[in-house]
Symmetry: C2
């Protein structure tokens, strides 16, 4: 444990108790010149997320789904970035799409998406992480509550809260297939987690998370301070933008259809990664991009 840790406003996993701290960064970094309206900015500022039903067309969704299928079928076994469900061989996620797919690269650079990210982050942006998430029919597992930023800061060395996640629904999201759940307003509070980061934590954390998990008491406080829990629901082609520190999770998928979504993180080019804020080597590039290539 270095002394630098304690000057870091977002230190976490540095003691054996949890702690609640205030966010020290703005939520909206850009100005009001658009494309988001002042009302949308205000809503994002307050809740830490924004929902855009049917942002993409049915035809666009079809080609994104087809690409997901062919990536999954043709993924070279020696290439990192394909993660399976706990206790089975079913594919849960495929990572680094911005690197391995021209189609997804073009999508992430589409003005309807990247324009919003640039405004929220007040700068040019690049992709920190991207992936397809498959939540298999009937057996798709629960993801417990977490802040992505806590992990990206501690394990990847993302300095500040200046990134925004984007979830693109490739299938309808409804109450029975484990939709994304968010705690509105939770992005204003940073929950330091208890415990240290184990070596090579990512090898098991992508299957079952045990460190960097917020305490039950912290979660109770966050929901009670909030107006509750929200789960945006809508057709394939709908998109949620959520702030990197917004607490989120999802239940299992007990419906008879898989739930598929596309996930990408826009990070500010002024917030590129430094050394991790734990005494561990950085995670692999498929989880945390270290090449900063601003999107045109």
């Amino acid at each position: 444990m270095t002394t630098a840790t304690f000057t870091d406003p977002y230190h976490s996993r540095t003691t054996d108790t949890w702690e609640s701290a205030s966010r020290v960064d703005p939520t909206v970094w850009g100005d009001t010149s658009g494309p988001l309206t002042p009302q949308q900015l205000e809503s994002y500022q307050r809740d830490g997320f924004l929902f855009f039903p049917n942002l993409l067309t049915g035809r666009e969704v079809e080609s994104l789904v087809a690409e997901a299928k062919s990536l999954s079928a043709e993924w070279p076994s020696e290439r990192a970035g394909l993660v399976r469900e706990p206790d089975s061989d079913v594919v849960r996620s495929i990572f680094r799409l911005h690197h391995f797919s021209d189609l997804y690269q073009r999508l992430f650079a589409d003005a309807r998406l990247v324009g919003k990210a640039r405004q929220l982050l007040g700068s040019d942006v690049y992709i920190h992480q991207s992936r397809i998430n498959y939540k298999p029919a009937l057996d798709g597992k629960e993801f417990f509550w977490h802040s992505d930023f806590e992990t990206w800061h501690v394990e990847d060395g993302m300095p500040r809260m200046r990134a925004v996640s984007m979830s693109v629904f490739l299938t309808e999201s409804h109450e029975f297939n484990g939709p994304l759940m968010l705690i509105p307003g939770s992005h204003e509070t940073y929950i330091r987690c208890a415990g240290e980061t184990p070596v090579n934590h990512h090898e098991q954390s992508l299957r079952r998370q045990e460190y960097g998990v917020p305490s039950r008491e912290a979660l109770k406080q966050l929901v009670h301070q909030s107006r509750g829990i929200e789960a945006p629901k809508g057709s394939a082609g709908s998109v949620v933008f959520f702030e990197c520190n917004t607490m989120h999770g999802s239940c299992g998928n007990l419906s008879p259809e898989p739930r598929v979504n596309l996930f990408a993180v826009y990070n500010s080019v002024e917030n590129s990664l430094v050394d991790p804020f734990c005494n561990r080597p950085p995670r692999p590039a498929y989880l945390a991009e270290r090449e900063v290539t601003a999107i045109d």
Copy 2:
């Protein structure tokens, strides 16, 4: 495996593949003399469940919750019927309330509840099983899809589909606390499960179910034949009646409050238990009452 097995219309766990069979019993055994209206009977006949929002008053719910707390605190350690969560000491269920609580006995005999059960089953009724279910805040686990009748038939010796389950909400049921989910119309189909019943199966099945689980293909068929999945939601004091063969389950509880409900099974006095339909001794009385005491 006895030859008798194959003359039993509801044999299950008798081969290593699953099978779908038609229900051979009526769904509604009684007549139209009330208390349920013809519309309610029709709805139960079609869907296999009926929902009554706010059937009990707030004051009644308060006393039922208080009783649940005192039972939990005072349960003698040598008495069977208290079941904990997998991987923790948190209480998940307390059984045989009709035996150990005067208050719950009176509730189960309340005309607003037992009257409906008598009409649906067309006879006097007794309590086959009763319990409190606690789904703890944040850590309440998923219950996978199942038909109660399959287990009660195979492991307890309940001869026919002439029982109705009742779930009384002691806390609000909402989309984030793992509400009861049902497949409308699934009571018309009996899904035979694959595999044999292990000895003393109940000792682990109450924690994690591995036998008597319907196949994924069977569940896909049931949902596709149906109008989807339904999860009745409402305040504490609401009550769901569901047919003993209706396929049901629930997601985990990721909300910061426990979800508590009271569960009781009314069985027809003409459908009392015989020897189990597997070559195993019957399960203990707290899971399957063998004393038939018709409710006055």
